[in-house]
Symmetry: C2
Subunit: 119 residues, 2 copies
Amino acid sequence: MHELFAENQPFRANGRLWVEGPADRFLGIGRLELLERIAATGSISRAAKEMGMSYKKAWDLVSSMNAQARQPLVGTQAGGAHGGGAVLTEAGAQAVAEFQAMQARFAQFLADETARLYQ
Amino acid sequence: MHELFAENQPFRANGRLWVEGPADRFLGIGRLELLERIAATGSISRAAKEMGMSYKKAWDLVSSMNAQARQPLVGTQAGGAHGGGAVLTEAGAQAVAEFQAMQARFAQFLADETARLYQ
DNA sequence: ACGCGTTATATCTTTCAAAATATAACGCGA
DNA sequence: TCGCGTTATATTTTGAAAGATATAACGCGT
């Protein structure tokens, strides 16, 4: 039994993980979910609505990611069938997959650190 | 060479790590530094001043930590020689040491993840 | 030509956390 | 007894981020 963090294990390690570029944040858990929902819905506005996020905020995030990546993560079309839409590019799909994996390793790290509090 | 995160390695993994209790945050990088400076200066107010933090904010953090820990991390005295002061308890010193170690492992994790972006 | 739903963008408003300010209490030493 | 620097606490102010609102542009289908 550990002295500092004992009694019903109420403490746990937690954290946030992201990838940052020279100036701005590039990818985090919120941007990841946004990309996932854009892929699922084919629309920035629908993805934003699903997340309870304003369209402006979602668009700003997409703009930030597209500006920083060598190739855009999201392709957009204004106007056209159904008014337009957005799709994940190949680079976007790759970014999603890589950050999902990074996030999974981070979850394991946090679980290990929480266990260590009581070892 | 990696396709997504290439060219002069401008991207890096970064993050924040903390220990949280049932209700509130318990220990993070800011609280750690505050504890370290309290230990060094023997005073909440001096520690706060060194960090460019208001005394109130520092006191709130100390209060939060002391309330959540089984034993207080910081002992305080109002009044007395030099007006009073604050010291790190044994539990406080232990918490500092443990979180420093956790933070070091996290730094290694982040370095590994940054390297992986370009592997 | 017009309507529709979307992207694209600017501006205004709100909210909320951080900071600033103020005041009391404490207890030793001069 | 008074001053000092500290802890302890409440209240007010500020500022930045988030959200809301407004408007334009786009291009396909009817």
